[in-house]
Amino acid sequence: MDLATLIVHVLNALLYASVMFLIAGGLSLIYGVMRIVNLAHGNLYAFGAYVSAWAVGRALGTATEASLWMYALLPVGALAAALLGAVLEPTLLRPLYRRAEEYQLLITFGLLLILEDVMRLVWGPYPLQASALYEALGSLTLGDSIYPTYNLVVVVVGGIAAAGLWAFVYRTGFGVVLRATSQNMRMASALGVNVNRVYVQAFTLGCFMAGLGGAVIMPQQGAVLGMGVDALILAFVVVVIGGLGSLEGALIGALMVGVVREAGITFFPEIELAVLYLMAAIVLFIRPAGLLGRA
């Protein structure tokens, strides 16, 4: 394998890792703060993709060439997912915090079923595409290979999101409140933190990240029914490897999943998914809290 091919493989691995981190980071953040595993998280990622695809589609109209300003429409999907999260948490999840976690899992499973069909209802059963945005950036030449420039944009967005989230959680006053609530909700509450507000903010932020993941990958993959359910399971693999509730863990898990997926697609396509799930099972077996998780 020559150097150019290796670089392409590395870039592809980083591409998967970026999107996986955006989804899994949000899932992990929500679990870390609220102790809820949101089975509908993948649907918020899909929702972000659909809203962006719809917005870009409206802007494109009949034009086949994408103009630069249309890239500014992609974050619309992330904002829509955040808004949806801000509505869902107080209405559906808040009544359940005092109940057994079985019920919390079940209600998010119900939400998964509902959101899946809401997207079918609103945008129809066929995939939405905005590949004009993907093609407009052209491609780079790396030795004998060519590589789409847009993929680099996704990697950069993933990197910026990771850095931004880190700064947000570890360098702002809100981050301190968030981490305090995550470590000890009762104590934080006793010290005057409005836990309800922190919960809705954390949930909204997590949904924003999932929506952003869907929005940035959409020009490459389109928005398809079922993409949320598939993404959720991979996000589970990521957070189980990294540790539920740990953002650093989600980053490491996303990188590992990215590398294994790229290697899997190249060398062992039949068992690529099985290897990923087995990885999660083995990590969970050896270190139940994940590589970087707290027990």
Binding site: I107, F109, L121, F236, A281
Partner: protein
């Protein structure tokens, strides 16, 4: 002592008429109704197994599609490679295969509880799903594998004639018999000292360990029994469906199992059975009524969790017991 005797007597008082009704049913209703009910009874067997873990041991599995699917694929492999068409061979194959897989997966899973248990069972079931999906030369991939109508009772009951007629009469009675047997066996299990030990573990793990219950060992045995019941259901389901596809191994099918167990009420013995049968009708109706059937199921689930957490049977029982307590 008297309570232990009274409970089965009360159950017999209504289960005998229900059973009689189930036996008469195929002669009264149109064949498609009987076939639909057969699906419900099959899911009820799976629910019995699932609830041994959720209701009696306190472990929420999100990966029981694995054992249902293994039971179903075991039957398909018996047809494909061993060229057998005997239903008893199918059931034996389904029980052995799902028992082996549950024994292996259980060894990994029972060390954990709560959400980690749920995710680990889910990850393992997804391994099987992706294998069934990708190894198409063995499993038929997303097209699945066909299974012909089997011979029943070692060839005593011949297939002959119309498939619909076979499924709605002979096969229905076969499913009903296995169902009654499964209910009886599970009833004995949960009322045995072993079942009591499981409930002790569910209510207080530390205390159970303190009085000498080997917690992980009991959990593992419960896990295997649970997997075998679910696998048995999978094996019964294939001839009914005529086809097995990777869908039944996917974790969303596990989600449905959780759904109907909670729908009926997991704190009661018969709740999951009723829940499975109701769910089957509900899903069938929703699929026929609208393309947005998932939304219907989702709304039912959300309302159920918010308003009726005890499930249908649990709520009815509470209503029935309330006046008795007042006096």
């Amino acid at each position: 002592m008297s309570a232990a005797v009274a409970a089965p007597r009360r159950v017999l008082a209504w289960s005998v008429p229900v059973l009689a009704a189930l036996i008469v049913l195929p002669f009264v209703v149109p064949p498609w109704q009987t076939v639909l009910l057969s699906y419900g009874l099959v899911f009820a067997i799976a629910a019995l197994g699932f609830n041994l873990l959720l209701g009696y041991t306190g472990l929420l599995s999100f990966g029981h599609s694995a054992y249902f699917g293994v039971g179903a694929y075991a039957v398909a492999f018996i047809v494909k490679y061993a060229k057998l068409e005997s239903m008893e061979a199918f059931l034996l194959g389904g029980i052995v295969a799902s028992g082996l897989v549950a024994a292996l997966f259980g060894l990994l899973c029972v060390r954990y509880t709560k959400i980690f248990f749920g995710i680990l069972t889910m990850a393992l079931s997804q391994v099987l799903w992706s294998l069934a999906f990708k190894f198409f030369w063995v499993t038929g991939g997303s097209d699945g594998l066909r299974v012909p109508t089997p011979t029943l009772l070692g060839g005593l009951v011949r297939v002959g004639g119309d498939k619909q007629d076979f499924l709605s009469r002979r096969y229905y009675f076969y499913v009903l018999a296995v169902f009654v047997l499964a209910v009886a066996v599970m009833w004995v299990i949960v009322h045995s000292p072993f079942g009591k030990a499981l409930q002790a573990i569910r209510d207080n793990e530390t205390r159970a360990e303190f009085v000498g219950v080997q917690v992980w060992h009991y959990r593992w045995v419960a896990f295997v029994i649970s997997g075998v019941f679910t696998g048995l259901a999978g094996a019964l389901w294939v001839p009914l469906n005529g086809l097995t596809t990777p869908d039944i191994l996917h974790w969303t099918f596990s989600g449905k199992m959780v759904f109907f167990t909670v729908l009926g009420g997991f704190q009661t013995f018969f709740g999951p059975v009723i829940g499975a049968i109701i769910f089957n009708y509900l899903e069938n109706w929703a699929v026929g009524y609208t393309v947005y059937w998932q939304m219907v199921l989702g709304v039912v689930l959300v309302v159920l969790v918010l308003a009726l957490p005890a499930g249908v049977v649990g709520t009815l029982r509470r209503l029935a017991l309330r006046p008795a307590k007042a006096t």
